[in-house]
Amino acid sequence: MVLATFIVHVGHAQQVEGVVTDAETGESLPGVNVVVQGTTSGTSTDSEGNYSLNVPSLQDTLVFSFIGYQTQSVPIDGRSSIDIALQSQAISGEELVVVGYGTQEKANLTGSVSSIGGDEIAKRPVTNTASLLQGRAPGIQVVQNSGQPGAEDVNIQIRGQGTFSGAGSEPLVLIDGVPGSLSDVAPNDISNISVLKDAASASIYGARGANGVIIVETKEGRSGEFLVSYQGQYAIHTPTKSLDLITNSAEYMRLFNEARRNTGITSGLYPEEEIAKYENGDSEQYPSTDWMDIMIDPAPVHEHQLNFSGGNEATTYRVSLAYTNQDGVMRGFNYERFNTRVKVSSQVTEAIEFGGNIGLQKGMRENPAQSGEDTYLSTLSQAPTYRPTLPDGRYTFKAYPFEYNNKNTVAIVENEVFSNITNYTVNSQLWVNIDFSDKLTWYTKGAVNADFDENKTFRPEVQLYNYHTGEPMSFLDVGGRGLTVNDNRNIFTNLYSYFNYTDTYGQFHNFHAQVGYSQEENTYQYLEGFRQEYVTSNLRVLNAGTPSIQRASGLEESWALMSIFGRVNYNYDERYFLEANLRYDGTSRISPQERWGLFPSYSVGWRISEENFISNSSASSWLSELKLRASYGELGNQNIGLYPYQSLLTFTGNYSFDNSQLSPGVAQTSLSNRNLKWESTTVLDIGMDLTLFESLDITFDWYSKRTEDILRSSQVTDLVGLSAPVVNSGEMLNKGVELGIQYRKFVNGGALDGLQYQIGVNFDKYTNELVTFGEREIRSYSILQEGEEWDAFYMLETEGIFQSTEEVNNAPPQFSDNTQPGDLRYKDQNGDGVINQDDRVIIDGRHPDFNYSFNLSGQWKGFDASLFFQGVKGQKYFATNWGQLPFTQGSPPAEYWKDRWTEENPSESLPRIYFGFNAPQKLTRPSTFWLENGSYLRLKNVNVGYTFGSELVGTIGLRSARIFFSGDNLLTFTPFPGLDPERAGSGNFVRYPQNKVYSFGVNVEF
């Protein structure tokens, strides 16, 4: 019905024809959309760039649009032949870049801003928007920690870890100007992402700009054309890697016995006659089960997007619908998502334009109640000596009572011991822009973001049996019993308004000023209910449970922020640039005396290429653009706790004196600090933008980012007996360089005539230093110490394996260990003749040496292809337990443990085998033996497509159609022995696996 209103009848048709070329190269452009403005009638250019179109009248206007080029509107003015040269969007000096509260011409930027096109990031077949930023611009470090559908746990840092405050180092994300979350936007709705990296660009967001700002602009409709496009893709996900484990039961059992004996455990060994049964017996009764194989399967994922867009001269609109359904590669995981986004704007009068933007999302995630990592390690912990179920379908606990495992994950999945998380997000905005004159405008936006999460977790009681005897043994470990329902509500409101004033004095003095006000308020509530006893596990709502054991809890909290901001730009003849930004923020989290903070920044730029001595010289033939810029400014961080300055007591320490009634308790549990103030970050950035031969863009930045008065827990001695107050103390310094290189080439003539290709390289490197901290703090394998990188690895260094008793006796004694041949040999770092905790040293590798990425892409005669590589160098991980330490909770050792040290096989690299968590300290003590190199280079994405022009598909009513293959994480080069080197830090060796994706899709425009 809605569509019908847009149908325009074609009257007395007249024909217009012509050829469309690239303005730079003169080459003809195939596939360009040509539409009569305000109608749906149009066509595309053929492979020679020619078009021919019937128009209602020769007084109409034609709109030429093509990806990567600036759209042009051309009045026909009675002509019947119109040739057009389209300007590439990448041409310097005319590209607009989204900055805080507005846009600027790229050539005029004096801050460090990276801009990423929506088309580029939508190439990857990934459902999580945040992951798509990976490797797309220098200085942005993105780590996806998990491949779990809907819970990818993506960590974004801009220019390294800027602070150690509890506030974290996550950047501020703005969706169409309003704080939000990247996960609330479907990838195909993104038109552009700007990353503000330095103080000059981010300080207009003062209080929250310290970790950088990511600004996402969603796509909007264009006047003149009604477009319907559909994109669909079907993908298969498989894990990027699986572990090679000893799953032969007899081998497992023998090694199990050896490990237990080495550990000093003499009970609970597999008798030799039982092992023999597995070697010779029936494989149903005495199996060698590969549990990983049972739990992991290739997973299908499909995605559909439908977009409608168009408009007339006054009004444009875009409506999109998206659907994603992603199964996990492990059984029991699924994510399903619906998105709609409506964006409308209208010029109501000559002076007034208003618009609205609504994004709705419903996400439904299902996963085993104890999360992805737990499911993986629990599966890993199962011995191969039994199957998940007995022959009659009952669930297995163990084959022998002395075996040791975690929960039977097949039973978890089949009994639906799941958490179901349903998330509804509403992002709505309304804005109005009033032009008082050519020089003065007033823009106002109001937004409400509402998030509703419902989390239901059901834990039934499932009996488990002995695999051999069929006797009941235990109940499935599901972490409790009963139903927990948790309802979360978060309402965020934001209202901001600003005036823009632009003027030019004389011929050369260009001036722009902006001043505005913003206020934000956030309220979060949750309500949780629990009932333990359920008659049936099919009825999973609270009322189906008996009220004998039930609990309820709830919470409500809020914060607010009020701000005034401004910006002044001045340039002389577009050669010399000056900019100043200022923000004055007040926060509810800090006491009234200290709550207001002022965040200024200043920047300068010099476009050398515009100087007469360049532009009038021969250098101008190759030096298309050269700009130097420098900026300095201050940013803030207020994101620590909600009420850290107030002296509060806590409801804690309930006690039942008489065993019949519970009395409430209240105690002071922490110190407060009324004198809290803002954490501040100052950034100095010096950069250069260079373009050579109109085709090679080089952007270079050097920065120094210093965070002071860090909001952190004070170091308080235990004597105080209360948890530490938040104080302003500590200083952290990140210094780094960023380099981005883009090269574009259009081949003219020859066999490859018409080939267009791009090569891009991004590189960034930073060093982190904890400048001021206080007394050092030692963690289990890391240290916080002034002058070192944050949380530097701190452990013993191993130097091989003891090979003989003699070697042990001649070596410095190691702790009070009962060191034997085959044990790790620790290095005596301080040369005092004994190995103890004083021999721990700082080991490099907590932060990467550098990050890099490069991409190649090309288009030729309808074919397009791109390759995207991304890598990290010099990052290490301290990763242990399941999959690494043999027999952790019974988990089968990796195959390589067959090469362990024994008297017959005196290995130089692998020690004796010990038994899981019972392994002695001499093996498990944090040492470099467990520290792994996590460097990697991976083929992040391959994308190959072919576009059918309208001459081919026009007959079936399509404007264009593209089919494509997209592959993600297809190749990885890494020395890391764990599952995937892409992980957010140390910890357990295993994670929920990352995905390798093979995706096929189609893109159709009607």
Partner: protein, 513 residues
């Protein structure tokens, strides 16, 4: 004109939005300091939180040393058992890798003690500053006595583990947080001051009659236990002046109406704890909202694994060691034994005479597990288990054994010594001790009796230390999975390195570390 309309509209929105209080936000789920401590009810609630702090949930990764439910884990530092999870760093400690940076108990015994002390200090300061009506003198001193009992308990713990530490009697702030150490003697005197105040001001009724609140005997029991720790010098020689005090205090408790429960397990099982004549103080729990995880920790996870040598040390039912007994059957080692064996230890998995059994999910490294505190009514054991059996902190059997020990050291194995120890043995189905034991023989019998009767109540480490036999006993454990090392200096632990580092030089490390 149209433009003006818009301008007015936007201005209106801002006028509504911006008001003075916009940036004033306070939490709705926490009282503020300025509004609390205003009535007797507030002080009752504050006192409750002091009790509540002692009754933790029993998850060892959340709380260690303060937690009653985790006392059994302390036996993992001794010849009684092995701790496969290394909670509290028990494996490092057993192996003698005791340094200021060992962590685990070395840190937690310190921090948890001061945490509880701070809670008491804040309570006492507010009580002292309270000027309103409604709290009578008697109530005031009773509150103070209850609070000071807990402070005493913690100072004693600090004294026991570290010796000399700072004595803190006022709430501290960031400005005065660094305090120098007091001598061990001063720490003990601070303990005595508090415990004596508690003894003098707590209700003098049977614990079962005081609604779960502390009574005089609870404080007396604490004082006796602490004094007994000082009852031997560093060579293990008895100190008669101190032992006399122990004897007198225990004697006084023995006149307070306490008696042994009929069954050994009654003390530890849920249905038989309320009104139990043996319990002098316990940490109380109430399902479903105040629970612990003792059944899960010991019955399913095997946080404590008794050693075979410990199991072998139980006498046969004829009162003889198993290698000398005529009734002991190596084929059926759990039969014809001290009845406490099958109540204290299970093999492979817990099972109960009254029915019910459990198959543990965790490893059973020594073949044995700890059954003593398990409640059959809570089967099966797991995360959903709502354990609420009270955790006994002082009970009459310990008082009798303390009396017997002090009296034997002072006056030899006289009749009163036999009268104190025999009922405990008889309850376990064992015969009376031989009337003709020498003082030295009786000493060994009492020491053995303590190891068995009080097994896993967290007292073995205390006994080994105060008798000065830790080196002799621990360095000879040969079935412990770990290789045991105990040196002279380990009688006191080092202070945590982090505390030395952060003290601005105020805090001195213990000698030898």
């Amino acid at each position: 004109m149209k433009t003006l309309k818009y301008i007015l509209l936007i201005t209106l929105v801002f006028t509504i939005g911006a008001c003075e209080d916009f940036l004033n936000k306070t939490p709705n789920d926490q009282p503020t300091e300025s509004t609390f401590w205003q009535s007797q009810r507030d002080f009752e609630i504050g006192l409750t939180a002091i009790y509540g702090d002692m009754a933790g949930n029993g998850y060892p990764w959340e709380e260690f040393a303060m937690n009653s439910v985790l006392y059994p884990n302390l036996d993992n530092l001794t010849d009684n058992s092995y701790g496969q999870h290394n909670y509290g760093g028990s494996q490092q400690l057993v192996q003698g890798n005791i340094t200021p940076t060992t962590g685990g108990y070395i840190n937690d015994a310190y921090s948890h003690s001061y945490e509880n002390i701070a809670r008491v200090n804040i309570f006492l300061q507010n009580l002292q500053n309270f000027e309103g009506d409604g709290i009578g003198e008697e109530v005031r001193s009773d509150y103070e006595a209850q609070a000071r009992f807990f402070r005493a308990f913690n100072y004693w713990k600090l004294y026991f583990f570290y010796g000399a530490v700072p004595v803190i009697k006022q709430p501290l702030t960031l400005e005065n947080q660094n305090q120098p150490k007091n001598s061990a003697e001063e720490v003990f005197n601070a303990f005595l001051e508090d415990v004596n105040f508690a003894i003098n001001n707590l209700e003098d009724v049977h614990y079962s009659e005081n609604g779960g609140h502390l009574v005089k005997a609870s404080a007396q029991a604490l004082k006796a236990r602490a004094l007994l720790y000082n009852g031997y010098d560093s060579n293990g020689n008895p100190q008669p002046q101190i032992l006399e005090q122990v004897r007198d205090i225990t004697q006084s408790i023995m006149q307070g109406g306490y008696s042994l429960a009929t069954n050994y397990v009654d003390v530890f099982r849920e249905g038989t704890q309320e009104g139990n004549p043996e319990i002098i103080f316990s940490a109380k729990y109430l399902a479903p909202d105040k629970i612990h995880h003792g059944d899960q920790m010991y019955g399913d996870w095997l946080v404590v694994s008794p050693l075979p040598s410990f199991v072998d040390s139980y006498e046969a039912s004829d009162g003889e060691p198993i290698d000398q007994s005529a009734v002991y059957d190596p084929e059926n080692p759990f039969e014809n034994r001290d009845a406490r064996l099958t109540k204290t230890v299970f093999r492979d998995g817990p099972s109960f005479e009254e029915g019910g059994a459990h198959s543990p999910t965790n490893d059973v490294p020594t073949e044995y597990g700890l059954k003593k505190f398990l409640e059959p009514g809570h089967l099966p054991y797991g995360y959903a288990t709502l354990s609420d059996q009270d955790w006994v902190i002082f009970r009459y059997a310990e008082i009798m054994l303390m009396y017997a020990e002090a009296q034997n050291e002072l006056n030899g194995p006289n009749e009163s010594v036999h009268e104190a120890i025999n009922p405990i043995r008889n309850r376990a189905g064992l015969p009376d001790l031989d009337d003709n034991l020498t003082q030295a023989e009786m000493r060994e019998k009492i020491r053995h009796e303590r190891r068995i009767e009080l097994a896993f109540e967290g007292l073995r480490y205390y006994d080994l230390k105060r008798w000065r036999i830790a080196e002799e006993v621990l360095n000879n454990v040969d079935d412990g999975i770990l290789s045991y090392t105990f040196e002279e200096k380990h009688y006191l632990w080092p202070l945590p390195q982090s505390q030395i580092d952060q003290s601005n030089g105020e805090l001195e490390q213990n000698p030898d570390y």
